[in-house]
């Protein structure tokens, strides 16, 4: 059971957001970012229900810490960071069972994005199959717009380690797209 507070983004789901609340602008700001956050969380968790839980919890945390957000223009990376940490925390806390992608089905309606044989289907599937060590920095970079240094800070890695992981992630995807894999130039790191 999730906690909720009046006026928070969580309670707003059930339509209990006070209309004249002094925090209404920040609530609207958070809410406007929910689709972005959910997409980000889904690429991390690879499970919609878990991603929704993560975003819900992250928004609640953000709401409680809203005073720490001095610059509303920084809300997006701030919220993405909270979502990422919530995802990591959830896995640490619950030791969620690993998702076997062989047992997982993409449920979206047919489109070039999800239809087998669609131009991006193989790439999407390959990204989903990337180990979290590669998928996480890639998603942070491409979806979150984080720089190498920001990712390194967030993941507590060196910048070189982040470059290595990003290089290897793209190298795996190169092959899926019919390109030859580039020689692994990255410094050795004990990763899959």
């Amino acid at each position: 059971m999730r906690n909720s507070e009046p006026g928070s983004p969580v309670s707003s789901i059930s339509g209990r957001l006070p209309a004249a609340d002094a925090d209404a602008p920040i609530t609207r700001l958070f809410e406007s970012m929910r689709p972005d956050l959910l997409r980000f969380a889904q690429w991390l968790a690879r499970d919609r229900a878990i991603a929704e839980d993560i975003v819900q919890e992250a928004l609640l945390r953000a709401w409680r810490s809203r005073d720490a957000l001095k610059d509303p223009s920084a809300a997006r990376p701030w919220l993405l960071t909270i979502v990422r940490r919530e995802h990591a925390r959830l896995y640490e806390r619950k030791r969620l069972e690993l998702v076997s992608l062989d047992e997982v089905v993409e449920t979206q309606a047919s489109s070039a994005f999800s239809e087998p044989g669609g131009e991006l289907f193989a790439l999407r599937h390959a990204i989903m199959r990337l180990p979290i060590e590669y998928r996480e920095p890639l998603v942070l970079q491409v979806l979150g717009g984080f720089s190498t240094e920001e990712i390194a800070r967030e993941l507590a890695l060196s910048a070189t380690a982040v470059l290595t992981r990003l290089f290897r992630a793209r190298n795996k995807l190169r092959v899926i797209c019919g390109l030859t894999a580039a020689p692994d130039l990255a410094p050795r790191e004990n990763l899959p």
Binding site: V104, Q108, M128, T148, V162
Partner: protein, 225 residues
């Protein structure tokens, strides 16, 4: 900047455009091409990530009751047996179908009531490269029939359970016994020393006994073509 350093940076961040990288790319066509490839790939990655992976993990559902599992298992077994029976009794291949069609084309063969003379049997075997040990008083019908490019003996033999048709197929090889059921006839084709022997009945004749007897009674002549 070396090529290795440039490619590591490009692979990690295709959008990167540091002065050192740009300087290197200005003089290295291979790395410049690599960046073009990686930027195209990155555009695809961006498009792929635009839509969330709306995936569903199978949720643990209610466990089926034990009797339902047994019923399901029984259904599977019955269905398998039914398919197996149909498969075993079907005309297993073109040869079986053609044998049935040939016998259907000579319906009078089943109706013969007179034993075939020794001369008639000899004529039926002529050119087929076989000799028979069956006593002539058991053979009610004997013809040399054109079948699949060769003359083959077509016999009807009287058995305790009614007439049985036998085709001696010197030129048709089968690797194992094949059973079939079609057009009211049940039959087997069994491998023989040379070629094969087809046995068909319209009732409940013991096909395998007859086929075994024929395998014993048919002598394959060495000089046949």
């Amino acid at each position: 900047m070396t090529c290795d350093e440039a490619r590591l940076l490009i692979g990690a961040d295709p959008g990167a455009a540091t002065p050192a990288l740009e300087e290197h790319l200005a003089t290295c066509a291979a790395c410049a091409r690599f960046r073009d490839e990686m930027r195209c790939l990155d555009a695809d990655i961006r498009r792929a990530l635009e839509r969330p992976p709306d995936i569903a993990r199978p949720r643990p559902g209610r466990q089926p009751l034990p009797w339902r599992q047994w019923a399901l298992a029984a259904s599977v077994v019955l269905a398998t047996l039914a398919v197996l029976a149909v498969w075993l009794l079907r005309p297993s291949d073109t040869l079986a179908r053609e044998v049935v069609a040939h016998v259907q084309g000579e319906p009078d063969s089943w109706l013969a009531t007179q034993h075939v003379s020794a001369q008639g049997i000899t004529q039926a075997l002529h050119g087929a490269g076989v000799a028979l040990e069956v006593t002539s008083d058991k053979i009610m019908y004997a013809q040399s029939c054109w079948f699949r490019g060769h003359y083959v003996p077509h016999l009807v033999i009287e058995t305790a359970r009614g007439p049985a048709t036998v085709l001696i197929l010197r030129h048709e090889q089968v690797r194992a016994r094949r059973a079939f059921h079609e057009a009211g006839m049940t039959g087997v084709i069994v491998p023989a020393e040379h070629g094969s022997i087809a046995v068909l009945t319209r009732g409940a004749g013991d096909l395998d006994d007859i086929a075994g007897q024929m395998q014993h009674d048919v002598h394959w002549l060495a000089d046949a073509h």
